[in-house]
Symmetry: C2
DNA sequence: ACAATCAAATTGTATATACAAGTAAACACA
DNA sequence: TGTGTTTACTTGTATATACAATTTGATTGT
């Protein structure tokens, strides 16, 4: 054990040594890894300690194990490309901009048939409806329209959203267990074009989101980004963000 | 143990019972979980078996454990909303549609300055360049243009992509360790409009992707989807506190 | 009242042991 | 040659035990 590895538990040291061999390319996908017994001898540990190390590497997706055969380096499978959707304030803060937002609408109303269908409630039921336009350096970068189920967030209208974003508030008070996102390219309606200060015919990204809390649709949101001013991007490393 | 739980290992049964309590809301975020010793007694198991169950639930982000204090239901903060970008073939297969693709371009060439910059290579270096148009029921659903670094996939041009998609091939032979995605809304150029059989002015989603293999840019791809015909959707991933 | 100490509870790590279950190769036998 | 059988190896699960580290609350002493 090098002094560098001091302070790490034995099973951690085993994990690190294997991870390093994989990351550096010494071990390639499909290559065999030392067996539990061999690792135990190599590290002067018991088999159970080596077992723990390999078990955790399996859970992390770095290796695969086949009973009766052995352990092997996993084939890196970023077959799921993931794109992280951050809050607009987060995005702007990241590159140092100044965030502000205009409240366009903020009230309780009867829900239309169209939205009711999306939220799995009855047309005419009461919902909270809010529209904000978010700006960076006074340039509109996002139109956000939300419908909130009062059964999930009964005090939505009483909140002060100058300090906390609606998303943050909803995450705070409701146990959001599921969400669904849909992205499409659109040419927004005139009213939204005006709010976003864009020319007619300029394409925008439309991001629609539904969230659920205990089988109840908690929110239905429509976020619109001007295509010329905003990009969604994400970088991942081996499955993790 | 109910008969339903037959076939599961003891530690699995413990995990399932706790997960069910969390998912059903019986246990709420922050609630205390039975200690290892209590669980061991409850399930007639040893402490180590209960330990394994709780350890794995911790790794899965469902609970948190504090030495000397106890185990508690984790506060699920799905602040990371992730879009899952699937291959076009995958999406269409799910729908049961008939997928076909036209090869528009497939050759080796000298790279332009612009693309060279994206790929971190020198202008004039050789790269493989391919353009496909994917169709579902003869309707174009995706334009895909790829630049491939020959150092990563030297035999790219020799492949038969009627059976396997370029993405799948690249995943097979190259260890892709990192990837970056950028989504924006665009109005495509005339040539692409024609290939996708869309009207002038129709907005599209542009998805640009770069992948890395051992610090080398392996591929640079530009995927364009007609906004009206294609949607990207994703679901949430449970994040740790 | 305050501070130091102690005890109990809890999680974290490590070990030795045991047996089950699966695989693959060597082996024995017809 | 072909076919079961055995054997060796590997991973999977479970247990009992031990001690370390941390936190919390109770106890004790001043």
């Amino acid at each position: 054990m090098s002094s560098f590895e001091k302070g790490f538990a034995i099973y951690e040291r085993i994990k690190i040594s294997i991870r390093e061999k994989i990351d550096s390319g010494i071990l390639k996908p499909g290559d065999r890894i030392l067996s539990e017994v061999e690792l135990a001898n190599l590290f002067n540990a018991s088999r159970m300690t080596a077992n723990r190390a390999l078990k955790e590497l399996t859970a992390e997706g770095r290796i695969i194990r086949i009973q009766g055969v052995g352990s092997f380096v996993a084939k890196s499978k970023p077959e799921v490309a993931l794109l992280e959707i951050k809050s607009i304030a987060e995005e702007i803060a990241k590159w140092g901009g100044v965030h502000s937002s205009d409240m366009i609408l903020f009230k309780e109303e009867s829900v239309s048939k169209n939205i009711a269908g999306k939220m799995d409630i009855n047309a005419g039921d009461r919902v909270f409806h809010s529209i904000f336009v978010h700006k960076d350096e006074d340039i509109p970068v996002q139109y956000s329209e939300r419908f909130i189920n009062p059964r999930v967030a009964p005090k939505y209208l009483e909140q002060d959203f100058t300090k906390m974003t609606p998303s943050e508030y909803l995450l705070e008070i409701a146990a959001i267990q599921e969400s669904e996102h849909t992205i499409e390219a659109i040419i927004p309606k005139k009213a939204i074009q005006k709010l976003l200060q864009i020319k007619h015919g300029e394409p925008c990204i439309s991001l629609k989101r539904r969230t659920w809390s205990f089988d109840l649709v908690a929110t239905y949101s429509i976020l619109i980004y001007p295509g010329s001013k905003y990009k969604l991007s994400g970088k991942i490393r081996r499955g993790k963000i």
